[in-house]
Symmetry: C2
Subunit: 199 residues, 2 copies
DNA sequence: GATAATACAAAACGAATGTTCAGTATAAAT
DNA sequence: ATTTATACTGAACATTCGTTTTGTATTATC
């Protein structure tokens, strides 16, 4: 059990990579299996041998992407000391990760589509919850350490997530530099809005 | 030129109303012309007689919706004195208007889709610009009158728009009450972040 | 070496869907 | 009254696209 499994994994990787590039460029719906076939040289049947369905393929990519994001963040987190700085760091990574390896657009489209099967919806919900929880822990820490004024961390976490979502959308047509500036300002406002004041 | 034109307008209205309901419930892609046919009793050919295409029909609805929103706001604007209060008022109207007459979901989906023709994209861009400009004027007024600390109003306007977009997304699965609370908190943070401080 | 499992190809399926078009009836214009 | 324009029908068109199926070569298993 060696040569075959290896070859298989390589093929799966190749399909995943091609699909990722296509979904990123064209969006989810606009990318057809046929195009993935053309890009990989693999056959339709083979793609369906490796992935349950188009949605399954996409979800596979999203999961990979999300895991990679968290891995990257954990590597960089130590670079930032205050929660404030961490937030700016997160924004920076979002922009770099999302605008360079951007399944973002496709993900957005996918999340908003209504046709998704029940299992798909579950996994999406999980992901959003993970994000909010991630934010919540970060903010809670900031509150506990007196950096922010004590408020409902859960709700702030949702607001922060929404802010990121919105900024992502607003910066879709701008370049990286402008996006960085926009995110920075947004977080500035957000932080200024929840910061602990000595007065 | 009377009886016929009248009948024609009524039909167009009927199609528009049915389409609006369907797009709202099911989203843009998920709503087929066939379903609009079933809902109206009109024929496919007739729908294409009144509207250039499915996209054209949707855009027609979006335009109507946006105009109505502005009309409603202008009626209510006088109720709020400070810019701060106006922002809360806007949020309230967004939630009520958007969650009750919600083309929001479909609009979101539509805006994110990549396949849109060039003219479509133009009209969408215009709409976003209108929104940002609307925000900008509001914020500029708040700055001029000393309510907010002087900052880049243009960028704040974009952030505010993004915040609304994000909140809309985050409150998709909640009820009106929770949505109101979320928006309120979000604007609280935003205002707190840009407010003029005496200290 | 025979059998079974795996990786892949190619074609066909099938169903959904937006759009067009030839035709018809009704109202307006001349 | 005849012609013309308008509102509308219903069926056919034309694709696109995700998925299934059938078949085959290669590799692992016994």
């Amino acid at each position: 059990m060696n040569k075959k499994k290896l070859q298989s994994e390589q093929t799966k990787r190749k399909v995943a990579d091609a699909a990722k590039a296509l979904f990123s460029q064209k969006g989810y719906k606009a990318t057809s299996i046929e195009e993935i076939v053309e890009a990989t040289g693999s056959s339709k049947g083979n793609i369906y041998y490796h992935f349950k369905s188009k949605e399954g393929l996409f979800l596979y990519l999203i999961d990979e992407w999300d895991l990679e994001w968290e891995r990257n963040w954990k590597e960089r987190e130590a670079l930032y000391k205050t929660t404030r700085d961490k937030l700016f760091g997160i924004a920076e990574q979002i922009i770099l990760d999302d605008l360079n390896h951007p399944l973002t657009k496709a993900a957005d489209e996918f999340f908003n589509n209504e046709e998704k099967g029940s299992d798909i919806e579950e996994r999406i919900d999980e992901m959003v919850k993970r994000h909010v929880e991630f934010n919540r822990e970060l903010l809670q820490k900031g509150i506990d350490e007196g950096e922010f004024s004590p408020k409902n961390a859960e709700q702030l976490a949702v607001i922060l997530e929404g802010l990121f979502v919105g900024m992502s959308r607003m910066s879709r047509k701008t370049n990286t530099e402008n996006a960085l500036q926009l995110y920075h300002s947004a977080i500035d406002v957000f932080l200024n809005g929840i910061i602990a004041r000595s007065s």
